[in-house]
Amino acid sequence: MLKKDQPPLLFETSRPGRRIAVAPPLDVPERPIDDLIPARHRADTPPPLPELGELDVVRHYTNLSSFNMAIDANFYPLGSCTMKYNPKRNERLAALPGLAGLHPYQDESSIQGMLQLLSELQELLGEIAGLPAVSLQPAAGAQGELTALMVAAAAFRDRGERRTTVLVPDSAHGTNPASAQLAGFQAVTVKSDARGLVDLDDFRAKLTDEVGVFMITNPNTVGLFDPQIGTIARWLHDRGALLYLDGANMNAILGVVRPGDMGVDLMHYNPHKTFSGPHGGGGPGAGPIAVRDDLAPYLPSPVVGRRDDGTFFLDHDRPKAIGRVRAFFGNVGVLVRAYCYIRSQGPEGLKAVAQHAVLNANYLLALVKHAYPVPMGERCMHEFVASARALARDRGVRAMDIGKRLIDYGFHAPTVYFPLIVSEALMIEPTETESRETLEAFARALLAIAEEDPDLLHRAPLTTPISRPDEVAAAKRPVLRWSPSPVEPSATSDRGPRTVPSF
């Protein structure tokens, strides 16, 4: 099979009687099936499974996996997602039997090593945040947001305050307003100004006594550090409200700026973006949160405590805690990777992570800005948002077309059409792990695409088995489960009538 060919489905490769294992002849007395499994427990017909040899199956899945774009194979500048390379060392350490083989119901005395690791991770995350109280429980960044907002709500209740509103900038990740809503607040949008920063006039107008929390991402999703953060924190604190940091972009400021020093009261980390947790696959993930000292009593239980004799324990005796947000201790495997990453980088290494993330993004910005203007300025933090609106206007080439064509050049597309405040947005985050040569190769591809024939770009990608899936049909009439057609497979290459969708 050639790489550009569309691989057949296993049902199409199926041939009657083909098997991986062939059972030897029966050498014990045969018993009627009704004696073994009563008819009422049996299906009327066998399940419609394809009949295949082992090599058919291995080739099928190996070839499918080679169609994937992955950081181990391709540059992956997906803005906001921080698709950096995760050192394999952390995978190896997390897989050590003494760590991976633990059971959460083991006696505390037999898991002192793991508890020490988690306790140290709490301290490390608290130190990096400048916010000393940490919960490792949340299982994803968005659950960290929700947990922190529930902690804030518990604090307001405890103080007898009624605060019903959470303010969210219009450039925020969509999870921010969703978390606010889920935690029982009403989310109110604050506008960005022409620079892409928080519009202070709009912020002040919406900052009423009802406001409990302002959720900011800093640096924000257009890749800018908002220098107004000190003023924003002061205005909030003057009214008894809290400042929340969405820590999605911590790789831009690690070891350089501590959120606590900016006036942040609560934050979450995304270990998969910042500390080499695995990306994607729907988890398992982790979204630890760090909060100011006086919010510590409300953090979920348990937290890891340390006794005077130096032993560690799970502290459940915390009467003001909001309860559990995740079974046991969250997804410990991800936390182990974060611990290994932080310890192997060390303080200077973490600072270098931020410096390289910012340097790489600015270098790439400088290489492409003449063809892809950057509306929010010519300097950025760890990512930047270019706009294809001039190309769209003059040549009918849109951000989506550019993203699709990059696949032909062997690069994953950047994030497109986000954030919503930039039209024809191409959100590019090279991350700290890429070399100068890779950045230059990607810039050459982007510049070449800007000169290519619009008709070709509308048809891209041209080197993949499937070019442009029908996204409307996929959204409106999703086929969530295939089942093979009862028609016997034929040898022709026309797959249409052989498989039918079933819902």
């Binding site: 609106r389 059409y417 039209s423 996204e471």
Partner: protein, 131 residues
């Protein structure tokens, strides 16, 4: 409808008042920006609902994004276009005609229409957005 006879919001809705009926839709430019439409949610715009100018009355989702729809003027909802509710792609086929979305009985049409953009002002706005 002739796009030149319509009034527009900066958020790309259009409105045409004819006697005591106002017809509302989204512009061809908005449809082009949204690209392929997937669905529309008009649950907030049931007939009998009173909307104030600027109120969100629904959401339209495309393969690119989800966008709120805002009432250009105030009034009571009389009718939702059944063709659009049944198939949102009907908007794209004729955004200024059979792809209308909502009909209102306006409560303060004259004053509110004066606040909206006319055709030339709207064309100027979308040209600026493209720069």
């Amino acid at each position: 409808m002739d796009p030149k006879d319509l009034k527009y919001t900066p958020s790309h809705e259009w409105v045409k008042v004819d006697g005591d009926v106002a017809t509302i839709g989204i512009s061809a430019f908005a449809v082009e920006q949204l690209t392929d439409l997937i669905m529309i949610d008009l649950a907030k715009a049931k007939p009998g609902t009173t909307l104030s100018a600027g109120d969100p009355f629904g959401e339209v989702e495309s393969v690119k994004s989800v966008n709120d729809l805002y009432a250009p003027i105030s009034g009571e909802v009389i009718e939702v276009n059944p063709a659009v509710e049944a198939n949102v792609a009907a908007i794209g086929e004729d955004p200024f005609g059979s792809g209308w979305i909502l009909k209102l009985r306006p409560s303060n049409a004259e004053a509110e229409l004066a606040q909206l953009l006319d055709y030339d002002a709207y064309q100027k706005k979308i040209a600026e957005d493209a720069h």
